[in-house]
């Protein structure tokens, strides 16, 4: 297979800017919040790409912009189809989008303070997100409609796509995917409240995969779960990927889970990628100081964990006032004069290893594996 055929999604210079209004005494000022500011990567068929970063770095926005749940301001998202040819999602019309969306999917984040609640999205958004792409969200409590039975929840993408008119065919497909997600088929007539967190997340996954999508965005899908249930869900997602050949964009702030799930990992900081590399390389030979800092902040259950941690001072800058030059220079322990003046180039320093840092070659953050 040629390289071209391998690629499912190509993201080129993706940017999402939100206008933010601030009222002053006599005038309203509009500032642009650059939530995502020029991000490029690609996702192969059957591959999982992990996306990590602190809150406010723009992870969720990248995922949603790829699915066109929000419109990108700039850039291209190209979805490669084997039969029907390529389509540029960033510029596609509504009608074209509707056809593609069912092939992608999403799983949602806990919405403590006004985030997205999936049951509110059920109508328009979910209908739009049908056969080729899909989503799995973080909080399995707010992402299932409490008034629908599990069967109806899982069947909804099929019904909405309009392709399945036959109730029996829908039932058969629902039972098939529910069984694959290790749900008890006798429970399909129950309502979500009767299920535990882990079971609810299985329902969300079944719903995301029922239309046989090619691409699923998992937005913090395992973050709200206990460690044991989290392990179960990670195993399940890996198994399903192997069986169905689906590609995942796996968004999470927990690096060790991302490492387990992903083939390649991208690190996002204030709307820009700082590093993108195959998982092993990123975790064992990181080249960007920010990646190293994130890795050294993970609390490990090993009391003798042995490598020199660096502690970041302060917090992620406000994207409305993103720092000049390298955006990380305000917190970087190695920052030099050049860093605040010059935007570092996004370059490939080793095959498939991309980094945006002036001094990447000078750092050696490698850590040995412990057995």
């Amino acid at each position: 297979m040629s390289k071209q055929n391998d690629t499912l999604i190509e993201v080129r210079d993706l940017a999402v800017h939100f206008p933010v209004k601030t009222r002053k005494l006599f005038k309203t000022e509009v500032q642009m919040l650059r939530a995502v500011d020029g991000v490029s990567f690609d996702i192969k068929r059957g591959e999982t790409v992990g996306l990590v970063g602190e809150s406010g770095s723009g992870k969720t926005t990248v995922g949603r912009a790829i699915l066109r749940a929000i419109d990108p301001t700039d850039g291209e998202v190209i979805f490669h189809r084997k039969k029907k040819g390529d389509i540029d999602l960033a510029h596609a019309s509504e009608a074209e989008l509707r056809k593609v969306r069912s092939k992608m999917n999403m799983a949602f984040p806990e919405s403590g303070s006004g985030g997205i609640k999936v049951h509110n999205l059920a109508g328009d958004l979910l209908r739009a997100f049908r056969p080729e792409m899909s989503l799995v969200f973080q909080d399995p409590y707010s992402s299932l409609n409490p008034r629908m039975t599990v069967r109806d929840i899982i069947a909804e993408p099929l019904v909405a796509s309009g392709k399945y008119k036959d109730r029996e065919k829908i039932d058969a497909r629902v039972r098939e995917i529910a069984a694959r997600c290790k749900l008890n088929l006798e429970h399909l007539r129950r309502f979500p409240h009767a299920f535990s967190g882990g079971q609810r997340q299985r329902i969300c996954i079944a719903r995301a995969l029922v239309s046989k999508p090619k691409f699923v965005v998992c937005d913090e899908s395992v973050s709200a779960l206990d460690v044991s249930i989290q392990a179960e869900i990670v195993n399940l997602l890996k198994d399903l990927q192997e069986e169905m050949g689906v590609s995942f964009l796996f968004i999470a702030h927990d690096l060790s889970v991302v490492a387990q799930m992903s083939h390649r990992v991208a690190v996002l900081y204030v709307g820009k990628f700082v590093e993108y590399a195959p998982t092993e390389k990123l975790f064992f030979q990181p080249k960007h100081p920010y990646t190293h800092a994130l890795l050294s902040a993970i609390p490990t259950a090993d009391p003798d964990a042995g490598f020199e941690p660096i502690r970041l001072q302060g917090e992620i800058p406000n994207p409305l006032a993103a720092p000049s030059g390298c955006r990380f220079h305000t917190r970087c322990p190695f920052a030099k004069e050049r860093c605040s003046a010059e935007v570092p180039e996004w370059r490939e320093i080793a095959p498939e290893h991309f980094v945006a840092c002036h001094y990447a070659e000078e750092f050696d953050f490698s850590r040995g594996k412990r057995s």
Binding site: S228, A231, V234, H253, Q260, L295, P299, P303, R311, L312
Partner: protein, 336 residues
């Protein structure tokens, strides 16, 4: 180091429509001044409820077991029985905040949104330290400085919504500590924070605890966090402590199958391509607590006829350690 809190045989039941449920059963632990006890367990294991009982924060439908004892030794050395104080009494007000402070997971929910940070801190300082308003304000600024909030003199007049998540949690710590508690209960204080901010807050809490010589109970579901901050650890499952001992030893050499399972389920960066090993099965619902050892339904080493019939007692397989498991009980018996 003296024992400042000892909890013996704590049981908490709730009367519900489906009958009486007992989410905490026979919990025994103690905290020494200057040391941190970590309470770990999955959601629903009863870790939060046990500590809420200490502060009498349980809802009215809760009933404490008849032989439950919670003894707290206050700063002056007087022993106080917790859990049976009159609501609204002077004694209870003195204990809450002044003797035992509490930090919760979501700082936005614990601050009042309509008062400034400084205002809320000054209330606690004036009540517990008896300072005048102006002194209290100065003290509040000093505490904010201490927890690493830059420009504290300006922050003190801000409202909670103006601070970021990490800042708010720092302010919460400053608020709790400004009342000068001898024992600090931290209920998942870093769970809602990013790893980088979590690392900062953990460093801060560890430093402050050392400096002030406080005792601390740290509740979390993350064994990684326990390894960073706790001296001792108690692992809870379905309202029972199944294993306790020094944190490092328990993590290095777990004795209870549940502790082993929890540790195995943690994704490790050093084994990227291995399958994760979840603890099999689901945590049973509190209304259907299994008979015998609560863990036997998910335990690979369960001995049928023993584990599913009778609840194991706490035994000590190694010095300083305590485990509730038939595997060890039978071992120690056959050795004797």
């Amino acid at each position: 180091m003296s024992k400042m809190l000892s909890v013996e045989n704590l049981s908490i039941s709730f009367r519900t429509d489906e009958g009486v449920i007992t989410p905490v059963q026979g919990v025994t632990f103690s905290v020494e001044s200057g040391r941190t006890l970590g309470l770990v367990g999955e959601s629903g294991s009863g870790k939060s409820i046990s500590t809420k009982a200490l502060m009498q924060l349980l809802p009215g439908s809760a009933v404490l077991g008849a032989d439950s004892r919670m003894t707290y030794t206050d700063k002056s050395g007087k022993e106080i029985a917790l859990g049976h104080m009159k609501h609204g009494s002077k004694e209870l007000r003195r204990i809450r905040g002044g003797e035992i402070g509490m930090i919760f997971q979501e700082p936005m929910a614990s601050f009042s949104p309509v008062y400034t940070i400084g205002n809320q801190m000054m209330e606690a300082i004036m009540l517990h330290r008896g300072l005048k308003k102006r002194e209290a304000r100065e003290y509040a600024i000093e505490m904010l400085n201490k927890v690493g909030i830059s420009n504290a003199a300006a922050r003190v007049d801000q409202y909670p919504h103006e601070l970021s998540g990490g800042m708010r949690q720092r302010a919460m710590i400053a608020l709790t500590l400004s009342a000068g508690p001898a024992l600090l209960i931290a209920d998942e204080p870093t769970t809602a924070l990013d790893v980088t901010i979590q690392a900062q807050v953990l460093d801060l809490m560890r430093d402050l605890q050392r400096e002030l010589g406080m005792g601390m109970i740290f509740i979390t579901h993350d064994l990684g966090v326990i390894a960073q901050i706790a001296d001792d650890v108690a692992v809870m499952y379905l309202g029972t402590i199944v294993e306790r001992g020094p944190a490092k030893e328990v993590i290095r050499n777990p004795q209870h199958p549940y502790t082993q399972g929890l540790l195995d389920a943690i994704p490790s960066l050093d084994h990227l391509h291995d399958r994760l090993k979840p603890v099999p099965g689901d945590i049973p619902s509190p209304t259907a607590r299994p008979k015998g050892c609560p863990f036997h339904t998910r335990c690979a080493q369960a001995i049928s006829g023993t584990c599913d019939v009778q609840e194991p007692q706490e035994t000590s397989p190694l010095p300083g350690r305590a485990v509730r498991c038939w595997l060890h009980e039978t071992k120690s018996r056959s050795a004797a």
